[in-house]
């Protein structure tokens, strides 16, 4: 698909690459520094999940055009083991001991729209969108 920035995620360095690209795109689109940071942080967490659980995958960034405003779309996709219980994953956050959880509720708070599709052994696709006010 054209007009999309694709970042392969295979290592911890790719996490940094993906979030820096995301920040650049957000800034170029005119998002405020605060929003650009929220977007970069969300990308970092989603990319991190790919590395931790699926070993490899991809982050795709694109501009979405609504009727009155623009937004940024982040798609995090992998072919990993899939999330067993999505509902549970959406309830868990980061516990104080810092133990793993996918941090999905947290990522959800950083963006405006959030969708997750996951199937056992078929991988996971998270789509997050943030609109420019």
């Amino acid at each position: 698909m054209d007009n999309e920035i694709q970042v392969p995620i295979n290592s911890d360095q790719d996490i940094v690459a993906a979030r820096q690209k995301g920040r650049l795109l957000a800034a170029a689109m005119g998002f405020s520094p605060v929003d650009a940071t929220l977007i970069a942080t969300a990308i970092s967490e989603l990319a991190r999940n790919i590395v931790s659980y699926a070993k490899s995958g991809e982050i795709r960034l694109s501009v979405i055009n609504g009727s009155v405003r623009q937004g940024i779309r982040v798609v995090a996709q992998d072919q990993g083991p899939g999330i067993f219980d999505i509902q549970q994953a959406l309830r868990d956050g980061f516990s104080t001991s810092g133990s793993l959880g996918l941090g999905l509720p947290g990522v959800k708070r950083l963006v405006d729209e959030f969708e997750i599709v996951s199937e056992k052994n078929r991988g996971t696709t998270v789509t997050a969108q943030k609109w420019k006010p």
Binding site: D12, Q13, I15, V16, R19, Q20, R23, P33, V34, A36, T37, L38, A40, T41, S44, E45, R48, G93, F94, T96, G98, G103, P105, G106, V107, R109, L110
Partner: protein, 120 residues
């Protein structure tokens, strides 16, 4: 990318850069511990002024660094968290509990000096 660690009297100052990978953080953890032992430091400042994103791994590792350094009898202060980064952190739900934070290097040093003068 290696994080530079400077010695300032009884304290160590580690200055982090923006493009900090997981591997860099783990390396920093090991390096700081090593230096604290070698220099018998009383305190460590981790300056994250240039860090543009603090995600779950970064905050977890910083807390581990603080805990490990505490076991050596030294205190850690994280300084320079930017307003946008602080905002994103609380939205994401990551807290740097049990880790001292200060506005900048100057404040961080003041904090460490105060702690070393009147240890609790």
């Amino acid at each position: 990318m290696e994080v530079p660690i400077l010695k300032q009297g009884d304290f160590l100052i580690a200055t982090v850069q923006a493009a900090l990978t997981d591997a860099d953080l783990l390396h920093l953890r090991a390096a700081l511990l090593q230096q604290v032992v070698r220099c018998r430091s009383q305190g460590v400042i981790v300056d994250v002024t240039s860090l543009d994103v603090m995600d779950s791994f970064a905050s977890r590792t910083l807390r581990e660094i603080a805990q490990m350094i505490h076991l050596r009898g030294a205190e850690t202060v994280i300084v320079g968290i930017q307003p946008e980064v602080a905002f994103a952190m609380v939205q994401l739900g990551i807290k740097l509990e049990d880790v001292a934070t200060a506005l900048d290097l100057e404040e961080g040093l003041a904090h460490l000096k105060q702690k070393s003068e009147s240890p609790t």
